[in-house]
């Protein structure tokens, strides 16, 4: 899955670094607690959260996330957008709840796996 696909699936809007939309997303982590995300061990993952402050970008940078998704229709704080820009981390806004976003991604992954088997 590419970042562009993710944006489409979760009805998102990419507000920073749209030039990176063709990069791959290898995994997903969803949490409203940064310490929880800091325990995640995969690289190139989409960090999905309801938090809006600049520390989500720091956490993404430290854990090698490929993009950050702010859920529940929330708006990022200005500092978060600036930091995303300076670290070149795509920032995506989505109106969906965390579960709804994950479940759509899960179903899409299921479809992709099914078509790969055929």
């Amino acid at each position: 899955m590419k970042i562009a696909d993710l944006v489409e699936i979760i009805e998102g809007e990419i507000v920073c670094c749209p030039e990176k939309a063709q990069e791959p997303v290898r995994d997903f982590a969803a949490s409203d607690l940064l310490s929880d995300i800091l325990t995640f061990e995969k690289d190139h993952y989409a960090l999905m959260t309801g938090l809006t402050n600049a520390q989500i970008i720091r956490t993404a940078e430290i854990t090698n996330a490929c993009c950050v998704v702010i859920l529940r229709g929330k708006q990022p704080q200005q500092a978060a957008v600036q930091l995303a820009q300076s670290h070149q981390i795509p920032l995506i806004l989505s109106p969906l709840s965390m579960f709804e976003a994950c479940s759509r991604l899960g179903r899409r992954q299921g479809q992709e796996e099914a078509s790969a088997r055929e």
């Binding site: 709840s97 479940s103 899960g106």
Partner: protein, 112 residues
């Protein structure tokens, strides 16, 4: 879909499960209690990283079907005893919220 089936399919670890036959009608994922209080619906499976006492109160208040503590976080002993006392279903999982939500959505019984 019944809670017993969800526990089975997602390989959840029951900490305090009073009613296995309760119908799971939806799901919510969130770690900020104020957000969960505002948005979780009755009958939902609630995934969270939080393990302290207050999650039981939120679970009872909103009539969630079951609280699932994710990422191998052990519940506080007080949390388990309060869940038992109040009849709030409480489980755990070694997996993360995103993974569990994605898998739940792929269960045929859970598809809309």
């Amino acid at each position: 879909m019944k809670l017993a089936a969800v526990i089975d399919r997602l390989e959840l670890c029951p900490f305090a499960v009073e009613d296995r036959e309760i119908e799971v009608t939806g799901a919510y994922c969130g770690d900020l209690l104020s957000d969960v209080l505002a948005h979780v619906e009755a009958g939902a499976l609630w995934f969270t990283i939080q393990n302290h006492l207050n999650i039981v109160a939120v679970g009872q208040l909103k009539d969630v079907a079951c609280i699932v503590i994710v990422n191998d976080v052990a519940p506080d002993p007080q949390t388990v005893s309060k869940a038992q006392a109040l009849g709030v279903n409480l489980c755990g999982s070694s997996r993360g919220s995103a993974e569990l939500c994605m898998e739940l959505a792929r269960l045929p019984e859970f598809s809309p």
